[in-house]
Structure formats: C-alpha cells, structure tokens
Symmetry: C2
Subunit: 333 residues, 2 copies
C-alpha cells in the first residue's frame, strides 16, 4: 500500500527535481496565437483557449517535472465550460505521467466535506484529481472526510498551514494564550493545548496536520514505513524562517510550497523546505513558467514559440533547485 | 445605492420571514419518482435528476421565502454536468424572485480570490450568484477582492466566523494570548490586538468582518444609512451563547445561521440571532425541508407528492420563527 505522497516522492526521484507547475490560465496573459480575438469572447471560446494552452503546457512539462497544480478558481471563473475543460485536463495530464494536485482550497462541515472529498478525489470521482488543497478553518471533523478518501484511494491532501500572502498573518499569526483551551475542551485537550501557549495559531494547525500525516504513513516494505504520510501542508515560500521551523515541527508532512517566483520567494527562501535527502517538498511556480514568453530573458523565442519559453523557464527552475538546495540529491539514491 | 443585504432585508419584510432554504441535493435522498433507476447512474442522469428536484423545490418555496442557498459541493461532486445544472438553477431561482446565496466557502490569495469573486459574483459572471460564502483562513487581503466585487455589483458575501460543527472549535475557539500580535505587526496593530487577549480566535475574525460590514453600509435615503453592510457572517445555530454574544459584537453584520434542524439547532437557540426589529439574520434549513417527504409527520403526502411535504415543512419553519422569535415583527413596519 502506498499513498499519493509516496507516488510523489517516487516521481520527484524519477524526474530528479521537485518542481510543481501551477496551471493558472488567465485570458489576458495567453499567447496571442491562442487568445480569442473577439473583444468580448464567449465563455466557450475562452474555455477552448484554456484547453489548448494548458494541454500545450502539459505536453512540454510532462517529461520534466513530477506534478502539476491546476488552480480551480481560473476554470470556475469562466463558468461550466471552464469546469468541463478542467475535468478533461486532469486525465490528460495523468495520461502523460503527471500527478495532478487540484488547488481548490475546499472545505465544509462533515457530510458536505465528504461530498467534496468523494467528488474531487474519490474512487468514482468525475474529476479524479490525485490530491487536493484543503482549508482548515472548520477544524478536525471537516478535514477527516478528505483524509478518509485520500487513504482509501491512495490520493492526498495538502492542508493550508502558513499561506504565502501578507494578510494571512491576520489569523494564522495570532498568538495563542496561556489558557489555550476552548470553553468546552476536556481536560486532556486542555493539557495538550497548554503546550501551544505563546505560539502562533498556524503552529496549532501544523501539529494537527502532522499528526494526520504521522498516522497515514504506509508500510513500504516489511517493517519499513514511508517517512511521509498521505496528508501534506501548504507552507508559503515568502516566510523562510517559519518554513524552516515548520520543517522541524512537521517531520512526517510533505510540503507544497507556493510563493516562489512571482510572489517574491527565492531559492534561498525555500531551501529549508527539504529534508537531508532532498525530499519533503514540491515547489510551485505558476506565472513564472506559464507566461515565460513575456519575459525579456526568453525574448529569443517570441510569442509564437511560447512553449519553448515554458520549457526554458521550467529547466531553469529545475537547475536552480538542483544547484542551490538539497533537492539536488533527488534521483541519486 | 443598495447592497445585497439591503435586498435581503427587503425580501425578508416582503415574505414576513427570514427562512433560507438550502439546496443540498443528495442522490440517495431524492424522491423515488426523480431518482435515476440505474444501479450506477451516469453523472448526466444524476445531474438531470438534481435539476428536476431543485427546480421543483424552487417553484414551491419562491412565493414563501426570501432566498435559497445552493451548496456547491453537491453539484461539484457529480462533475461538470452538475456544475452546468448549478449554473442554470441560479438564474432560474432569480427569475422566480429568490435571492441566491452560493455556499462555496471559497477563498485563495489575492489575485486568485479576485478570480473567484469576479467569476462567481461579478457583473459578467457566468454563475452570477447574489452572494457567496467565504472562508477567512487566508486573512484580510484574501477577503478584500470579494468585498470589492460585492460592493461594485450590489452582491454580498458571508464570511465564516463560528461554524456549526463540533470540530470548528479546534481553531476558532483557541484563546488569543496577551501578546496577541504577529511577529511582524506594527505598533498600531499590536495595540488593537491587545484588546483580543483572552478572547477566542473567532472573535478576532468577527471584529474584522464587522469592520467590513460597517464600512459597506449604504445610504438608503438622504442621510440615512442601512443598519447592515454588504458583508455578512456565518454563525452556527449550534452555539447559542456565542451566537448571542456575536449579535452584540457585530451590530452591522447580517448573519447566515446554519445548523437549524438536522444539526440540532432549535428555535430557542437561534432567537438571539435577530435584532429588536426582527432583522439581522437568515436561518438556513436544508435537509429538513428538502427531504421532508421522508418524515413521519408528512407521511400523508407520500413520496409521490414530495413537493407538498417541502411546502408544509417550509410553512412550519416560518410559523415557528414568527411565533417564537422577533422575526415575527418582519413585514409589520
């Protein structure tokens, strides 16, 4: 029995890198040859353009990287036609050998969370993503249905812990008080929570996520369990000190690290996301790869050969991570 | 200029009640006459059944209640065909005079949040819901794009504050510490946050949401501003003491109250959600209305006349709220 994270580890070793390409199609940034020419294009024509563009990106990156991360918002934005394109892109990417992490940040209370989990990840899911990002505000019983489905189908989830945006601090960085218990907490809970006094809220979420990860580590060979469980965490590249601390606090948890590139995260910032084996994280880049054709450093290709710019930007990121992080050890064991 | 909440207030007065009917279609609970007969029905046949069922519910409740709340999870669960049905149900309900609050609990970082906001609520949105539920874990800059679109299009949002499920306490009920500041907070922020010491995390979110509500109160007549702003809050019926406290702490914020009925919230529990005018909240009921035909008290109608059970359950809830809460004052001014 393996988990999604075990498959992701394997893919990282096979590819020799931990690059996650974010699929964030945006109408205004599409290469002119693909962008609909009408001043007010229909949803259907935008959806068709997204489909062409994303399949082009998938074709280029499938031999290079372990996984892609379609952002649900950009497909939902253009209506049902966009969702139909998304549903087609997931199996297309999987047929090319890519793992697909759907970035939906979904969640709800128990029975509704179960509908999202079964619907997006389950065995008979019409979307059938390999993994899904999940928001933790609704607490333990809202995350559990995703864990159940993930374990059952060898899929995965990534729970938001410390997000890359500045405003995330509002709630995530609140300091937990000395009597860090809820009014209805039983004694055991109160004792456990006391250890969080003086620490930020996201560390409470981190401990919860790591306990889920720890309990979903699967036996790989007789007596040897995988170092990482089926439940991962989203930890932004833009908070390098916190990223390093969380790597220590969450030894069983694979990280999905957004915020590299366009949002300002550097190679130095994300180096701490990896363990000594060069494992433990995938690093996302969306705009920096998708729309590389717009950058002066790839001007040689021109907008007409935008796929070559995607390839060059992907290869550049792979080289950066290989050279300047422990991820350079991937594929050598 | 008005907001979605102003329209909702008006509809509550016109209908004389604050009942919100949740559209949570579930295959196994559909009336037998609508449920697909195949042992493994296709997505398309389930979607068609959901469409028939939900339009039947809308036809029954449109003359009775101010608004409906489709739950995105149940449509997304069955794939793109389900999303296409959802996109058709929203304008259908609006054409019958209902306001439509899409329950998606969406959110993401800034530019992606903007895609959700424009896509689900915006002027040219292919979904064009009247309001949307939004999750706050990603903080201020993740909520603002929804507020911007809501104000621009006279739409609304409801931010999760205190959810109805037991597990919500894990994060929402954490006590904020004395040094309730994030590491990077400036002095002003630190002083403001000090006032939250000893209080639960959800009260910090409540204060944020109420400040957004306060700043989006629109002038109704010359010099007279609406008592409620465009930004509402989700506060569960299952925590009556906290609901009463939040009503005091959030005077500019309209509440969407889930958890009534199937989740255990009673009329006594939700009475505190209303202000002295009988305004300030809509009370959601999903399963208790949709699948009333299964209850013994509506056995007289039988499964074949399930719409009559929907109507009877809706009227019963309206009567309960009129008799036992200040909502009885709606429509009398």
């Amino acid at each position: 029995m393996s988990t999604f994270i075990d498959q992701l580890r394997q893919r990282c070793h096979t590819c020799g890198n931990p690059v996650l390409v974010g699929l964030d199609p945006r109408l205004e940034s599409l290469p002119p040859s693909i962008r609909p020419s009408a001043p007010k294009p229909s949803s259907e024509s935008i959806a068709a353009a997204y489909n062409t563009f994303c399949r082009g990106v998938i074709d280029v990156v499938a031999p290079l990287v372990p996984a892609i991360k379609p952002q649900a918002a950009f497909f939902e934005e253009i209506g049902p036609a966009g969702m139909a394109v998304l549903a087609g892109l997931i199996p297309y990417a999987q047929s090319k050998g890519l793992l697909v992490i759907l970035d939906g940040k979904r969640n709800d209370i128990g029975s509704t969370a179960a509908a999202y989990a079964a619907g997006l990840l389950g065995r008979n899911s019409p979307w059938h993503a390999d993994a899904l990002t999940v928001s933790p505000y609704l607490g333990e019983d809202s995350v559990q249905p995703f864990v159940d489905v993930a374990v059952e189908r060898e899929a995965g989830i990534f729970v938001l812990v410390k997000t890359s945006n500045p405003g995330g601090a509002m709630l995530q960085d609140l300091t937990i008080g000395v009597s860090a218990s809820n009014r209805d907490a039983d004694t055991v809970k109160r004792e456990n929570l006391a250890s969080f006094a003086g620490r930020p809220v996201y560390e409470r979420v981190a401990a919860f996520v790591n306990s889920l990860a720890e309990s979903t580590r699967m036996e790989q060979q007789a007596g040897i369990r995988s170092p990482y469980g089926a439940v991962g965490a989203v930890v932004g590249a833009t908070w390098p000190a916190q990223l390093a601390e969380l790597r220590q606090q969450m030894p069983a948890t694979w990280f999905l690290v957004p915020g590299f590139g366009a949002q300002g995260g550097t190679v130095a910032d994300i180096a701490a996301a990896f363990d000594a084996r060069g494992e433990g994280a995938v690093i996302n880049n969306s705009r920096g790869i998708l729309f590389a054709y717009k950058k002066s450093e790839y001007a040689e290709f021109g907008a007409a050969r935008w796929e070559r710019a995607v390839e060059a930007a992907t290869r550049k990121m792979i080289d950066q991570l290989r050279t300047d992080t422990t991820a350079g050890r991937l594929g050598q064991s």
